[in-house]
Symmetry: C2
Subunit: 346 residues, 2 copies
């Protein structure tokens, strides 16, 4: 299988290296062959080519079986008024690959409950899968700007809502058969289209229970009753906010993975943490989010479920018995964490 | 002073009655005279007149010194596809009164820390004042809908951002001199206008420290470092989501107040909880959010700071020594809570 890696900026290259090392270790043990090719995206691509997503990068990604991304951005390129920004590369990649469903699983490992801001009793049985719409909404709508005024258009079509809703219901079937759809239907027209479309699609899945929540209520319920939720499906911007809120529950951003899927097989996999410029290049970033993203890559793009589960079990072993990186209360380096996961594969 | 009350739907009338009783008790003790006039809004207004904000209601509010609102909405009127909805009355009232700055203070009373989903050590010294922009953004932008597509336009002008920013900085001066402005400047054009305007206005307040956060990071930081923040200023929709998230920290929505202010003196005061139809008419709703909103009314619209502080001290006394309503772990009724606050005024 051909895997394109996009290490990107900040700690991106370090955690990508760790994920690739784990994938290679899995390849050796399973007899599969993974070919890796690295391309530029984000700030480093702007420096090299002037563009945050060079055409050659997008081409290579489209031909690959899966794409692994580290992180993009950093203070060097972070002037919000700049014409060219690293984030544009990421948004163009998501759109270019058509990966409209962003999966962000959240579980709270018992060994990390002490690091969570939430009380321990709230964290019991938390097992949520966010399905965030990733190629529509205000992220990709028309924008205008004059000296006095700025606008962003949030737009959704029925077809866009249908496809991400179907993905959410299919995933819920394999889980606890419960979908919570989040919108702001008491105020937004796009949310009313969202709600009526989700309600209609839900009828195709009579075995799955559907519940609607307003985004403001959901922001509260994630804290007061997190264990109640199974699959949460929502539009792009609400998903951005709610998944980061939920990530805080896990005790550290460093260990949360994500998968972005479209109609085709090629998926985009990335840890949800950012480029963390303050610790870049120091070999201290937690690579577990990247490594768990590699597991999702095996599961969703390469259909290697056993190998994916093997990685997840190895990560759980490291969380239980150490070593732990700084963000999760230890002193282990990025490479020590990587090596510990590889050792736990056997 | 003339106070218009808009009891609204669900538990709205019960908590409004409690707040009015407390205001009357304060009037007796202080020698001030408050005249109350009640008008219809929301679902009950739709039932009576077909409109969620009858012209007579808006007229009366505009002539008043302050407006007190209970809550609007309920299952009877909650079909999101309905042409006329209770929430429209609230939005039209906010726009009609020009109350562009929605103040939502958050403190976690020690007696309620056990009810919060957050660990106790996180709750220490939490004292945040949200200033949410209330009359712009996607709430009031153009909307379109066809069979296939829906759009919402989010729009901000420089003047709209300036006035709410100034309000936030002025409030920060009286507090801990720290403003955090929340936007999504890496993606949205309105956020880039927001950020550059806030940055420019901040220069007028060299004694106040300004910090920018992206809305997704802020959703996380509210949980991991809530005590770090003083005044948080943000646009309408982000404010809706973040203030509800923050409200979860307090242990119960039932005791959080809000004040919505414009350029003029007439302000709109309401508890942040909704109409809670499941407990409406049962005399069990917690009236403290309404009573604390009445205190904000005295402070911001009537300039009765001592009387406002007297109510807040009485509420703190009730939280410390009881009685407590159901939502905060007790069995006291709405009227028992009201009477306990009145008794604690002396
Ligand atoms: C970097 C940014 C554009 C991005 C987003 O908002 O989608 C990030 O926050 C994320 O959630 O992946
Ligand atoms: C009822 C609804 C329209 C309202 C809002 O979204 O502003 C409410 O959630 C609030 O925060 O006051």
């Amino acid at each position: 299988a051909r895997i394109v890696t996009l290490p990107g900026d900040g700690v991106g290259p370090e955690v990508t290296d760790a994920a690739v090392a784990v994938l290679q270790a899995v390849a050796e043990r399973s007899g599969h062959t993974f070919e890796f090719a690295s391309h530029a995206i984000g700030g480093c691509a702007i420096d090299a080519t002037g563009e945050p997503l060079p055409a050659a990068t997008l081409e290579a990604c489209k031909k690959a079986d899966a794409v692994f991304l580290g992180a993009v951005g950093g203070p060097k390129w972070s002037d919000p008024q700049a014409k060219v920004r690293p984030e544009q590369g990421l948004l163009a990649l998501r759109a270019g690959l058509g990966v409209f469903a962003n999966l962000r699983p959240l579980q709270v490992h018992p060994a990390l409950a002490a690091l969570s801001p939430l009380k321990n009793e709230k964290l019991k049985n938390v097992d949520v899968l966010f399905v965030r719409e990733l190629t529509g909404g205000a992220y990709f709508g028309a924008k205008t700007r004059t000296t006095d005024t700025a606008t962003d258009e949030c737009k959704y079509t029925v077809a866009e809502v249908e496809r991400v809703t179907r993905r959410a219901f299919e995933l819920a079937r394999e889980r606890r058969q419960h979908v919570t759809s989040v919108d702001k239907a008491n105020v937004l027209e796009t949310s009313r289209l969202w709600r009526s479309t989700v309600t209609r699609v839900a009828a195709e899945y009579p075995d799955v229970k559907l519940e609607h929540q307003l985004v403001d209520s959901m922001a509260m319920l994630l804290l007061t009753q997190p264990a109640r939720y199974d699959v949460i499906v929502t539009e792009n911007l609400f998903g951005d906010i709610l998944t980061d809120e939920a990530a805080a529950l896990a005790g550290s951003l460093g260990l949360l993975p994500s998968a972005s899927l479209g109609e085709g097989k090629v998926g985009l996999y990335e840890p949800i943490h950012g480029s963390a410029p303050d610790i870049a290049g120091k070999n201290v970033a937690n690579p577990l989010g990247a490594i768990l993203s590699a597991a999702l890559l095996l599961r969703h793009s390469l259909e290697l479920e056993i190998e994916a589960t093997t990685i997840e079990a190895a990560v759980a072993h490291v969380l239980n018995y150490g070593p732990h990186s700084r963000d999760i209360g230890g002193t282990a380096s990025t490479s020590e964490m990587r090596d510990a996961v590889i050792a736990a594969l056997d």
